[in-house]
């Protein structure tokens, strides 16, 4: 085979890994009954593809091929290992072999496996930070470093958190299943929280040069749709709406060179009207329910922004009101910070600063708090204070475009 064809097949395998490796993994975990073994099998399968596809050609259903190859490799490995071990020490072998009759190439089954994986990673018997880390690692395939950056946690701590969670799943025998209908509502909350964090990882990207990572956000939206299909609860609808409304601004929130553009400076004609229409419809359906919660309220806020044709049309009174509702539902310093920003838009930067000053020291390590302070001070022409706040915000911001935006604002301050 000519070298360029081999290179093309390798590129195809790379793309497949990025796009489908988590689906393959989710199914392999079900088939092999173990996270570690499934991960090993996944890598063996991709290695086999690199060897075989240039010779045999790319199979018609690459995902099914990967699942079969991974399962075969793992069972083969177990058989070889078991020659050196007593069979009674490996009670899982019989089960795994019995599973061989299961059809593996049905799309629906693969989707179920992803949902199984989500619910297992978000199991309440796992620590809440471990649920998030594990979902991002296993379901979304983020690296430990990316997750660590998103949670302001050292990478080794995070890696250990993931290992422990996997050990607990194995040792405590947390089942790999979608919870029963009775259990679902209680289990849903942590799933929604995790999905939204995944979305934000894609939308805000904690580090790196690209402001957005469309695949992760699309992944979170896809997961949101899947969960909504399974459980049409208002908060699932609210979360999906919230993600779609944010997503609608993706094209407008960065310029050609990837530099960040603020909401009121965005070209609103570039907002995705389809997403806005779907998001707004979902919000209207969700908000009328007495079970509407924080996701729905946040989506309602996003909808107010989305429906304003120009920044001046924004109904800040409505937005502050919605933040009041949100703050009552989920008192948190970050919500209070957002409310302070909304207050500054409704009543001016002085009022915003006053609201910000009532917040505690909890936000000291949070760059957006310093960025907000910097902006209020800039608008009040309190340049020295603005300068200090911009510098602090820049220190705390790893990501390229967001950081450069702050640096541009800092540089634009008049010398004092």
């Amino acid at each position: 085979m000519p070298a360029q064809d081999i290179a093309r097949i390798h590129a195809e395998i790379d793309a497949l890994y990025r796009k489908e490796s988590r689906r393959v993994l989710a199914t392999l975990i079900r088939l092999l009954g173990d996270f570690e073994r499934a991960e090993e099998a996944l890598h063996d399968a991709f290695r086999a593809a690199v060897e075989k596809w240039p010779v045999e050609g790319v199979p018609q259903n690459p995902v099914a091929w990967m699942v079969s190859a991974g399962r075969f490799k793992s069972i083969d490995k177990q058989r070889r290992d078991s020659r050196f071990e007593h069979l009674e020490d490996r009670p899982d072998i019989g089960e795994t072999l019995a599973d061989q009759t299961t059809p593996v190439d049905e799309q629906e089954l693969l989707e179920d496996d992803r949902l199984r994986l989500v619910f297992t990673c978000c199991h309440p018997a796992l620590a809440s930070d471990a649920q998030v880390a594990l979902t991002l690692r296993e379901v979304c395939g983020l690296t430990t470093e990316e997750i660590a950056a998103a949670f302001l946690t050292p990478a080794p701590t995070l890696a250990q958190r993931i290992v422990r969670a996997k050990n607990k799943i194995r040792d405590a025998n947390i089942p790999y299943e979608v919870p029963s209908r009775e259990e679902l509502p209680a289990r849903l909350e942590s799933v929604l929280r995790v999905i939204y964090l995944v979305f934000n990882e894609g939308y805000l990207a904690s580090s790196g040069e690209t402001a957005t990572r469309a695949d992760l956000s699309a992944e979170a939206i896809r997961l949101g749709r899947l969960v909504l299909e399974l459980l049409p609860e208002p908060e699932v609808r609210g979360l999906l709406a919230l993600m779609l409304l944010h997503e609608s601004r993706r094209e407008a929130r960065a310029d050609e060179s990837g530099e960040l553009i603020l909401l009121d400076e965005q070209d609103r004609s570039r907002w995705n009207r389809e997403f806005i229409a779907e998001g707004s419809r979902l919000v209207r359906e969700a908000v009328s329910s007495p079970r509407a919660g924080p996701y729905t309220i946040q989506a309602a806020i996003a909808a107010v922004h989305a429906e304003a044709l120009t920044p001046a049309d924004t109904d800040w009174r409505e937005i502050v009101g919605l933040y009041d509702v949100l703050l009552a539902l989920t008192p948190s310093p970050i919500v209070a910070l957002n409310r302070a920003v909304a207050v500054s838009m409704r009543d001016g930067p002085e009022a915003g600063l006053a609201a910000l000053n009532t917040l505690g020291a909890e936000l000291d390590g949070y760059q957006l708090a310093h960025a907000a302070r910097a902006d209020f001070c800039r608008r009040l022409e309190r340049h020295a204070e603005a300068r200090i706040a911009y510098r602090r915000a820049i220190e705390l911001t790893a990501q390229g475009p967001a950081r450069r935006f702050l640096e541009r604002r800092l540089a634009a301050l008049p010398a004092s």
Binding site: A127, A130, D171
Partner: protein
């Protein structure tokens, strides 16, 4: 009279004592008729704490951490998976007043020759 002997270990010394030594001693107690049951547990990070308050079951990661609560009894149960174990634990009557720590048990990993050496030294 029956007695429950509870084994406590720090994380650093969790694996300090070989399983074969435990198996050898258990074998001796079996022979002398003292042994009713016993099993090692997985490390403490596999623990799940179940509480029932106002009819709501709360499930949290980790061992029970309330220092004012003391061990009051135990149930050794056989469940399909952790979900069933949690469900069973949530119906243990004192779950309404205190905490039920659910810990998975494990099998001793025994080396026959090593166990024989420990048994001979007992």
């Amino acid at each position: 009279m029956k007695y429950l002997c509870l084994v406590y270990l720090s994380a650093e010394k969790w694996n300090a004592c070989p399983d074969s030594a435990c198996a050898a001693y258990a074998g001796q107690l079996q022979d002398s008729g003292h042994m009713l049951d016993g099993t090692p547990l997985h490390p403490v990070h596999t623990a799940t704490t179940v509480r029932v308050r106002n009819g709501q079951t709360s499930v949290t990661d980790g061992p029970f951490a309330e220092t004012k609560e003391a061990l009051a009894g135990f149930y050794l149960i056989d469940a399909r998976d952790l979900n069933e174990a949690i469900q069973i634990a949530s119906k243990i009557p004192p779950a309404k007043y205190g905490s039920i720590e659910v810990r998975p048990t494990r099998e001793l990993v025994v080396d026959q020759a090593e166990m024989a050496r420990y048994a001979a030294a007992l």
